[in-house]
């Protein structure tokens, strides 16, 4: 009898364990899952979503941040059928990739897009050369912030030695020589990780290509061109040589943290980085006074444009339930209200993409960026338009291997071309 009791208890327990998970389910306010990767705005995102819930009490937003490898996590989630409702994606390639696979909701007809600056829409519009003909020209995300990659320089060091921010490559050479004379490293660099060098290579490539960029990209997509076509190979790689020669000899073991530290402490006068790094530098040393200029790759002032474009966007998952999609759209609408923009600008310190946003509260480097934008002196982030593998593998690793002397210019170009052909 006792035996049977044990047996039946065991069976009941096991059955209960299997079924237990399904029992909890009840009607609640709509919960949206927001997935984002920008690690510099963790607390600010909380503030933003709390402000949203205050004005829309029926919708709750649960935040999930995955700072590094966000794409890995996102893909795994998608593949296992747990797509988040709201997704922060990087502009261009990532948006297009997920749109092409069908994961993102078509936002083309949403009124919220009318409030976006026209120049910012490129970054979220599925391109005319995209593989999936049916969705060309459709918009799949809401562009959220503008960012630039260029030289962030320390104004105090520049003033101390009577230097002016360089506008041409010649001037940059003089600046670096002067800094070296005074035992100051010209550039704080990071060669340990490959991404910064990848940005550098494509930035130099885009600036040197100038007006030839778009025709070349079209040809490249048709497999009829080489990476070397729009530029002079020698001048492109001279930029890398120059960058290395003016960096700390230990840069090979420097990562982003070391780069920020060297710049914030004033050991180095400049860093070639995206403007997002300014926040980290200013947090380390709040007294830092910085300016932001494009990296002058040529001696022609007009050609040295700012490498600036849309950085992050918000997209809605097409696999969410209809009521969640509706709630997610409400959130996107709310993001364009003055209240949300104010948090975005003042707390998150990001440059919004919406028309008529008030930017007066932003620091000097951001004002510099906006000035370039307003004068229309910007180049698009061409790397975002390359196939993902080309940028992630061939450009980033190619540039790094060149810096370490493992590949010469010809081999890097060859490698980029080969990788592009495979796509």
């Amino acid at each position: 009898m006792k035996h049977k009791l044990i047996k039946s208890t065991l069976v009941t327990l096991m059955v209960a364990a299997f079924c237990g998970a399904n029992l909890a389910a009840a009607a609640q306010p709509i919960k949206l899952n927001l997935f984002y990767y920008k690690q510099e705005i963790v607390n600010q995102m909380k503030e933003l979503t709390e402000a949203f819930t205050k004005s829309n009490p029926q919708i709750k937003i649960e935040l999930e941040i995955v700072p590094n490898d966000s794409m890995t996590v996102l893909r795994t989630k998608m593949a296992s059928g747990q797509a988040p409702d709201l997704i922060q994606l990087q502009s261009y390639a990532n948006v297009f990739e997920f749109a092409q696979a069908g994961w993102l909701l078509d936002l083309s007809k949403e009124s919220v897009l009318n409030r976006v600056m026209p120049g910012a829409k490129n970054a979220v519009t599925y391109p005319t050369w995209g593989e999936n003909k049916a969705i060309r020209g459709k918009i799949y995300a809401l562009p959220m912030d503008l960012a630039g990659i260029g030289i962030i320089y320390n104004k105090e060091i520049f003033n101390k030695y009577g230097l002016k921010p360089p506008k041409t490559f010649k001037e940059l050479k003089i600046v670096c020589a002067t800094l070296k004379q005074h035992k100051i490293t010209p550039f704080a660099s990071m060669f340990k990780a490959n991404w910064s060098l990848g940005h550098f290579l494509t930035m130099a490539h885009t600036t040197l290509a100038g007006a030839k960029l778009n025709p070349w990209l079209e040809k490249m997509k048709a497999d009829k061109a080489s990476y070397a076509d729009p530029v002079e190979v020698k001048s492109l790689f001279k930029m890398l040589d120059f960058y290395k020669a003016n960096s700390d000899p230990r840069a090979a073991e420097f990562d982003w943290n070391e780069q920020q530290a060297a710049f914030a402490k004033g050991e180095a006068a400049m860093m070639v980085q995206g403007l997002w790094s300014y926040g980290a530098a200013i947090a380390t040393n709040p007294k830092l006074k910085c300016g932001f200029i494009p990296f002058p790759c040529t001696d022609n002032v007009a050609q040295n444009k700012m490498y600036a474009d849309v950085d992050s966007t918000f997209a809605i998952s097409a696999a969410s339930s209809p009521e969640k999609i509706k709630a997610a759209k409400t959130f996107l609408e709310w993001l364009t209200t003055p209240e949300a923009i104010k948090i975005w600008v003042e707390k998150c310190k990001l440059v919004p993409t919406f028309k008529g946003a008030n930017l007066k509260a932003m620091d000097a480097p951001f004002q510099d960026l906006v000035a370039y934008m307003n004068r229309n002196q910007t180049n698009p982030w061409a790397f975002s338009m390359y196939p993902v593998t080309v940028f992630e593998d061939a450009c980033k690793n190619g540039a790094q291997e060149y810096i370490f002397g493992r590949k010469n210019a010809k081999q890097v170009i060859q490698y980029i071309d080969q990788t592009w052909k495979k796509n």
Partner: protein, 442 residues
């Protein structure tokens, strides 16, 4: 007590059967899936069934091709025309009995099967192409020889180059005209046994010289590639960590004061999180080692970084192996050792003829453990050097990770992972059979 047949069946179905099922679902099934993915070029994003298709494509390729009425009706239940009539979209949410629910896995599978019949699948099969690419096109994967350039165009011209370097790395690669130019600018100094740069070179000549040096001054170096590094890492890591672990175990097997304390100390690195370990060591390699040895670059040098990774791995693995060896030492009966002592055997004879043979089971386990762990090395290189500089410290698993998740080549990464799985099974299989043969039973 022999359990009754009925009870045996009861416990089999209650415990063993679920265990087998779990083993199948969590090991065999994923492994088979992995092999299947390794024959595709899946990028990790494309869903298994298309989420939307344009109207014309859907009508010509699906509606006209699916022969069975029931199957077509099933498909049309889930693929619905979009509002503008341009697309057929997959409905992720279905209204049933007034409630909305998500598509179930079974429904997805059935849709996938129907679509596969008419030749529509999102993931392309490419056969063995991934495996071919690994060994032929992937320049980082297999060991090879390559040029390493020694001069950077933006540096100043080197004022002196050692005679040997000058002859081997530069002169050999030059054409007659270039040779004349280089020899016109550099003069052999017998006393220093080096070529010295002449003073007051013309600007144009110096520029030309820089170009020649940048393009032609190189050494041909051996690059181990991902496979080479993994094997190099495995051999050194296995030998060193087992050697030190055995040494520590032998020392701590004696009755020492603070024996237990020392044992815990040596085991501690194994308890620490690997990320913390890597932080501590990168601090050591960046600040302490340069000050002590005078060599400025450790983690940033392609030659030294592999050894840095090995040092950290050995330091980390030692403690764990030591515990296994200690357990092995304690199973050796003291009477045998005492008898040998009475017969006049010294320490080395006792070790050679008694301890070492009787330690064989522990050795087998330790080697097995450290071989398979070294082949699967991931965290230490990732946290310490992130695989760099360049590709100098990238083991296979890290490479798989880069391929699959950084470069969106899930299929290719999986192919490498499958290869690694086979390598591990092969190497550890050989090791186990060889070592089991020489184990002594007491």
């Amino acid at each position: 007590m022999i359990a009754a047949r009925k009870t045996r069946i009861f416990y089999f179905s209650l415990f063993l059967l679920p265990a087998f099922l779990l083993y199948a679902t969590f090991f065999i099934w994923p492994l088979l899936m992995g092999v299947q993915y390794s024959f595709t070029d899946w990028n990790g994003v494309v869903p298994e069934i298309p989420f939307n298709m344009s109207r014309s494509e859907f009508e010509t390729k699906v509606i006209r091709q699916v022969k069975a009425r029931a199957e077509l009706a099933y498909l049309l239940k889930y693929y619905q025309k979009s509002a503008d009539g341009q697309f057929y979209n997959l409905t992720h949410w279905i209204k049933e009995n007034g409630r909305e629910r998500q598509l179930t896995a079974a429904e997805r599978e059935k849709i996938k099967a129907i679509l596969a019949k008419v030749g529509i699948s999102s993931i392309k099969q490419i056969g063995l192409a991934n495996y071919q690419e690994m060994f032929q096109a992937d320049t980082r994967f297999v060991p090879r020889f390559e040029k390493k350039f020694l001069f950077n165009e933006f540096d100043d011209l080197p004022t002196s180059i050692k005679r040997q370097h000058f002859n081997n790395d530069l002169l050999k690669h030059l054409s007659a005209r270039e040779k004349a130019l280089v020899l016109g600018s550099y003069q052999l100094n017998q006393g220093q046994n080096a070529y010295l740069l002449k003073e007051h070179l013309a600007e144009s000549k110096a520029e030309e010289l820089k170009t020649i040096l940048a393009e032609q001054m190189y050494q041909t170096v051996y690059l181990p590639g991902v496979i080479g590094f993994t094997i190099f890492f495995m051999i050194l890591n296995v030998l060193l960590s087992n050697f030190f672990a055995l040494l520590l175990a032998l020392l701590l097997d004696h009755k020492l004061r603070m024996q237990n304390f020392l044992r815990s100390i040596f085991f501690l690195p194994n308890v620490l999180s690997l990320v913390i370990v890597a932080f501590i060591w990168s601090f050591v390699f960046k600040l302490i080692m340069p000050a002590v040895t005078g060599i400025p670059l450790w983690l940033g040098s392609t030659d030294l970084a592999p050894y840095c990774v090995i040092i950290v791995s050995v330091w980390q693995a030692c403690g764990y192996l030591m515990v296994i060896y200690l357990a092995g030492l304690q199973t050796i009966p003291t009477d045998v050792l005492e008898a040998a002592e009475i017969d006049g055997a010294n320490w080395s004879t006792k070790f050679k003829h008694i301890t070492w043979p009787l330690l064989a089971p522990a050795l087998t386990i330790c080697l097995f453990y450290s071989i398979s762990n070294s082949l699967k090395a991931f965290e230490v290189p990732l946290a310490l050097t992130s695989g760099g500089p360049g590709y100098a410290t990238t083991p296979i698993v890290l490479d798989v990770y880069f391929n699959a998740f950084m470069q969106n080549r899930f299929g290719y990464g999986t192919a490498k992972a499958v290869l690694l799985c086979l390598i591990i099974i092969l190497i550890t299989g050989i090791q186990l059979t060889l070592m089991k043969r020489r184990e002594v039973e007491l």
